[in-house]
Assembly symmetry: C2
Amino acid sequence: MPRAGPLKIKLQLYVGEERAFGPGRADLLEAIDHEGSISAAGRSLGMSYRYAWMLVESMNHGFVEKLVEAAPGGKRGGGAVLTDAGRRVLAAYRSLEAKVVESARGEALDQLQGLLKPEA
Amino acid sequence: MPRAGPLKIKLQLYVGEERAFGPGRADLLEAIDHEGSISAAGRSLGMSYRYAWMLVESMNHGFVEKLVEAAPGGKRGGGAVLTDAGRRVLAAYRSLEAKVVESARGEALDQLQGLLKPEA
């Protein structure tokens, strides 16, 4: 019987009880950079337009500068691009994530992996 | 104007797209150990009984052994205790979490913190 798949680590950043940044927001910023619009980015990630927009609003309000600049033409009209702040936040998060994943390797993670039930 | 509160790190462990363990489950195991029942543990964490029980079921099915042993008397009737496996999973997760939080300190986290908006 094969073992359960490998444990994957997800790193969420909170301020108090509020989520500030994490893998979903990072993926969305990358997809916006690639797709050039919030709706296309959300679609590429299987998110509803409403949810993608809500995440963008939350990020734009939570940081000192907007992370995403939506072009004129209304919420559904224009394209969207990452700002410099958006690129900085994304790069810093990916760097932090890589460091954390690397640091997590070792005995404790192996123990948890060993206690996981084999897949059916 | 005070800066935003410090960024807190939460470490979620997934198998594929399914959550295997994280801070909520760890807190619940600790509370069960302290309170001696799932309902009291959930209450102490502000979780509904239904949600606390769902987390316990999920953990008990996801690992090679049960992490929580509910005493006879029905779901709402008896007490509950951590099994040895429950203690091992909890200890390994807390150890991993401490290592990750320590490793996260540094430039990337400082950058993210610096880009967070000051609190109103």
